[in-house]
């Protein structure tokens, strides 16, 4: 559906010619995020620079009943920043300012388009950092991180994005600029800040974010342990957590990923291992030393083939290089893959890894694993060849089977990527009708017209539609007179 001339004129008047993308080739750049299964270009892309401009865009679209899709850096993995119903995509790439850094109160306020790592870069000299570190942190925006409640390797110890957001300014689907939260520790009323983190643009467009800054730790120690198989490595992970040690990061790579990484960046991980664990401890030096010894002992007890500890920053960087380059290295083993993001209780890792091996064999597909083992957050890449007929379908089937297995173990559909278009259909696995309906009604409070990033996050399901009411408990006979 093309935009009306009046909406186009309104956007151009507001943002100038450089602030609106209308050409087909220009819009094509915005047709998908990093999950290219879902492609749909918006009718226009708006590039605001201020909160006021965002508000005017929302009101303009609302009056014309035009869908609004927010976009940060477009590095999401869920088909979130794509426009299946057309409409106006609002790109935050011109809202990249750090508005304030308040060291005494350990926080900073930024615009949503600011790149995650830029914030840490701006405060590191003073000894501070912004903890959420999605693998995309060199390119992903903090607004995008807030929209998806992004995680990252170090979220094991530090928590995900929501644990670091103190306040937000958001233009909701009603066209209001709502300020929630703030620097202070306590406030009266519902925790709207907490509710809005992870809304994937379905409540509105975040225009400013106040985040917590943390002090850099005194010491960091990174170790690598290799194992004969993912099952043994998983048992070591469960044993570390059960021993009461929460490392800063606890990542696993399986043999397929080790091979791909070594081929891409040189031999950083031992060949021939079935899995490696990358274990990082940080904090006060004496604590890190003691815990590192303990972790190494646990790995050895669990039949580690080898445990090495990085001796200096260069060695540490090398151990992480493999992990960080993993996504790029995948291209060496497959042309296409599906990416899971389910979570299992971390004590069930050995069980789900065994199940994964069985699923992989059953469908004759390669699974490559690189994931946040300490959280139980799986990221298997289910590799397929899209030139071979039926292979995508097989990969999708394997994907579904694995997801069902995770939920059966008490897990969740998404640990850190979010729902978007890709996983909405899976939510009913995890939530009953009443639960889905509650979320739908919550969404409607902020987006009464259904224009904010439509067709994302919630499934097409009767419980997520107007007029649905979950069944109430039946009162005992005779209660009514």
């Amino acid at each position: 559906m093309a935009l009306s001339a009046s909406v186009v004129a309104g956007l151009q008047r507001l943002l100038g010619p450089a602030g609106v993308v209308l050409t087909p080739e220009g819009r094509l750049t915005y047709e998908s995020d990093m999950l290219t299964l879902y492609k749909a270009a918006p009718d226009a892309v708006a590039l605001p620079m201020t909160t006021n401009e965002v508000q005017v865009i929302v009101r303009l679209c609302r009056d014309a009943r035009v869908p609004i899709v927010p976009r940060g850096s477009g590095t999401g993995l869920i088909g979130g920043a794509t426009a299946p119903l057309g409409g106006v995509m609002v790109s935050m790439t011109r809202m990249t300012q750090i508005l304030e850094v308040d060291f005494p109160n350990r926080c900073a306020t930024v615009q949503p388009g600011l790149i995650n790592l830029w914030l840490t870069n701006a405060v590191r000299d003073r000894g501070w950092f912004f903890a959420p570190d999605p693998s995309s942190q060199m390119v992903s925006s903090i607004g995008g991180n807030v929209a998806t409640n992004a995680g990252g390797p170090h979220c094991l110890k530090y928590g995900i994005t929501t644990n670091h957001v103190l306040g937000l300014e958001i233009v909701t689907g009603t066209g209001d600029v709502v300020r929630v939260g703030g620097k202070a520790s306590e406030r009266a009323g519902y925790d709207l800040t907490g509710v809005m983190v992870g809304n994937e643009g379905t409540f509105g467009l975040v225009t400013a974010i106040t985040v917590r800054l943390l002090h850099l730790p005194e010491a960091v120690k990174t170790a690598l342990a290799s194992f004969a198989s993912v099952v043994e490595a998983s048992e070591a992970v469960s044993a570390i957590i059960a021993a009461g040690i929460i490392p800063a990061a606890l990542e696993m790579l399986d043999d397929a990923m080790i091979g791909a990484v070594n081929a891409a960046v040189g031999k950083v991980y031992p060949d021939g291992a079935g899995a490696v664990l990358l274990i990082e401890l940080d904090g006060p030096r004496a604590e890190v030393e003691a815990q590192a010894e303990r972790v190494a002992a646990i790995c050895r007890e669990r039949q580690a083939l080898m445990v090495t500890v990085a001796r200096d920053e260069a060695e540490r960087a090398l151990l992480w290089k493999g992990r960080k380059e993993a996504a790029g290295a995948v291209g060496r083993i497959t042309a296409a893959y599906l990416l899971q993001d389910a979570v299992v209780p971390r004590s069930r890792l050995p069980q789900i890894m065994r199940e994964m091996v069985a699923i992989s064999k059953r469908h004759n597909l390669l699974f490559a694993n690189v994931f946040h083992a300490g959280d139980g957050n799986l990221h298997p890449l289910i590799c397929y060849d899209d030139r071979k007929p039926g292979e995508l379908e097989r990969a999708q089937q394997a994907n579904e089977e694995l997801l069902h297995a995770c939920i059966a173990l008490g897990g969740t559909v998404s640990g850190e990527h979010g729902i978007g278009m890709d996983k909405a259909k899976n939510l009913p696995l995890q939530y009953a009708e009443a639960d889905l309906n509650f979320m739908y009604r919550l969404r409607r409070v902020f987006d009464p017209d259904g224009l904010m990033n439509p067709a994302k996050l919630l499934p097409s399901h009767p419980a997520c539609g107007e007029g649905f009411r979950p069944s109430r408990p039946t009162l005992p006979a005779g209660t009514w007179v």
């Binding site: 060291f103 109160n105 350990r106 409640n149 929501t162 209001d176 709502v178 939260g181 703030g182 620097k183 202070a184 520790s185 306590e186 406030r187 009266a188 009323g189 519902y190 709207l192 907490g194 983190v197 992870g198 809304n199 002090h215 850099l216 005194e218 469960s238 059960a242 009461g244 904090g283 006060p284 004496a286 030393e289 003691a290 979570v343 209780p345 946040h372 139980g376 008490g410 897990g411 969740t412 559909v413 998404s414 640990g415 990527h417 979010g418 729902i419 939530y431 009443a434 639960d435 509650f438 979320m439 919550l442 409607r444 409070v445 902020f446 979950p470 408990p473 009162l475 005992p476 009514w480």
Partner: protein, 428 residues
């Protein structure tokens, strides 16, 4: 759609929970005698009570440990108190996952005893925590000294089952430590005072208990020195569990010399790391011209009892750490008899004052609220005699349009005002 008589309604309530667990009257809520009090044995019974209450247009007050019933506007009317005391089971403790699922009536003390056997903790320690229900701690967003390191219920609640105002049992969140599947419904329920649903089951993140812990009491001559020391601690690599402020009156209540303003700092980790950080803590205290004394293991119990022992008016002040000295000065200027304590490293403070008349308290609140507005903070009357709270706004102003959004949420989920009607911010 109306129950004809009070007797018929009582029969209906009785049919749900059994005669032994429905009382006429009950313990007054904030001075108001309820018509009935019901103690369901199952969450299904709790849901049925709400379904009946909504149909019969009753107002319902959920009650956990009963320690925070003075929070909020006084209720105009209480038809039914829904007591969670029989819903006190630990449903699913997974020590290997550091998670636990409990019923909302389980007290923090009862859970703590079970966790201790496995070397784990739920680090939620608001004053009098051992006797408080976990559902109540969630509904009131109560916190204590350990929030410095571990955060609050907001950070620890992974999943929640609640009954909506119409009795529909609903689940939000997940039972694993990391989940972004759908909206973060648990966040909506924390601090909502049960106005959107009665909390029935909570899945919580646990932490390993530290191997070793030490506490030091640092005394300073002036609040400015206290603030200097807090700033130095925050801008260091020390990882304290607690950085707690105690003014002279709170020190006295703890049976300590009441000569100064103090910080109680604790560090919990492996023993060599506690010792290594001790030196740094002491150096930072001395640089701010304070004196340090090592406290025994019982200090935090004493402190907890001392805070829980204050009678009268409690204000919960949410500010920022850089305004610690200013806040102390403002409180002492407007409430000269107040004692002050709280998480200095976060600016989450409380003022405790024995007695205050409504006009004086209102004037004090106006002044204090002025001082936190620009940082999004608040000054909440956590406890005060009903006669005082009736004449002021215990929550303080919530700016528009955020308040309008809160009202819209309440209207969506409890249109008839069944749950704690009128007691929350803006009369929600």
């Amino acid at each position: 759609m109306a129950v004809t008589t009070s007797a018929a309604l009582a029969d209906g309530l009785r049919a749900i929970v059994g005669a032994a667990h429905l009382r006429e009257g009950g313990v007054p809520v904030d001075g108001v005698l309820p018509r009935w009090s019901a103690a369901p044995e199952t969450i299904e019974q709790a849901a049925l009570l709400l379904a009946l209450a909504q149909d019969a247009r009753l107002t319902v007050v959920p009650r956990g440990g009963g320690t925070a019933l003075e929070l909020g506007h006084p209720p105009a009317r209480v038809d039914l108190v829904l007591e969670t005391r029989r819903l006190d089971a630990v449903l699913e403790y997974q020590p290997e996952d550091l998670t636990v699922t409990v019923q909302a009536g389980c007290t923090a003390g009862a859970l703590s005893a079970q966790l201790a056997a496995r070397g784990q903790i739920l680090p939620l320690d608001p004053p009098g925590w051992a006797g408080r229900s976990l559902g109540g701690i969630a509904a009131t967003h109560a916190s204590g000294p350990l929030r410095q390191r571990y955060g609050t219920m907001r950070d620890l609640l992974l999943g929640v089952r609640f009954a909506q105002a119409d009795g529909v049992l609903t689940w939000g969140g997940a039972k694993v430590v990391k989940s972004v599947s759908g909206y973060d419904v648990p966040k909506l329920m924390v601090g909502a005072l049960g106005t959107l649903g009665v909390l029935l089951e909570l899945t919580l993140r646990l932490h390993p208990a530290p191997d070793h812990e030490s506490t030091w009491l640092a005394s300073f001559r002036t609040p400015a020195h206290v603030q200097e020391c807090v700033a130095a601690l925050l801008d260091s690599t020390v990882q304290p569990n607690r950085i707690e402020l105690l003014d002279a009156r709170v020190l006295a209540a703890c049976g300590l010399p009441a000569s100064a303003t103090a910080l109680a700092v604790s560090i919990g980790t492996v023993e060599p790391a506690v010792r290594a950080q001790e030196g740094l803590v002491k150096a930072l205290v001395q640089r701010a011209r304070g004196t340090v004394e090592t406290m025994g293991a019982s200090f935090w119990r004493t402190y907890d009892r001392a805070l829980a022992g204050f009678e009268g008016v409690t204000l919960r002040i949410g500010t920022v750490p850089a305004r610690l000295a200013d806040t102390l000065a403002s409180v002492h200027a407007v409430l000269p008899e107040a004692a002050m304590a709280g998480s200095a490293g976060l600016g989450a403070l409380q003022a405790l004052t024995g007695h205050a008349e409504a006009p004086a308290l209102q004037a004090a609140l106006d002044r204090l609220r002025e001082g936190v507005g620009d940082v999004g903070g608040s000054v909440i009357v956590e406890r005060a005699p009903r006669a005082v709270r009736e004449r002021l706004d215990p929550w303080g102003p919530v700016p528009e349009p955020a308040l309008a959004a809160m009202r819209a949420i309440k209207t969506e989920f409890d249109p008839r005002g069944v749950l704690n009607a009128g007691r929350f911010v803006g009369g929600i």
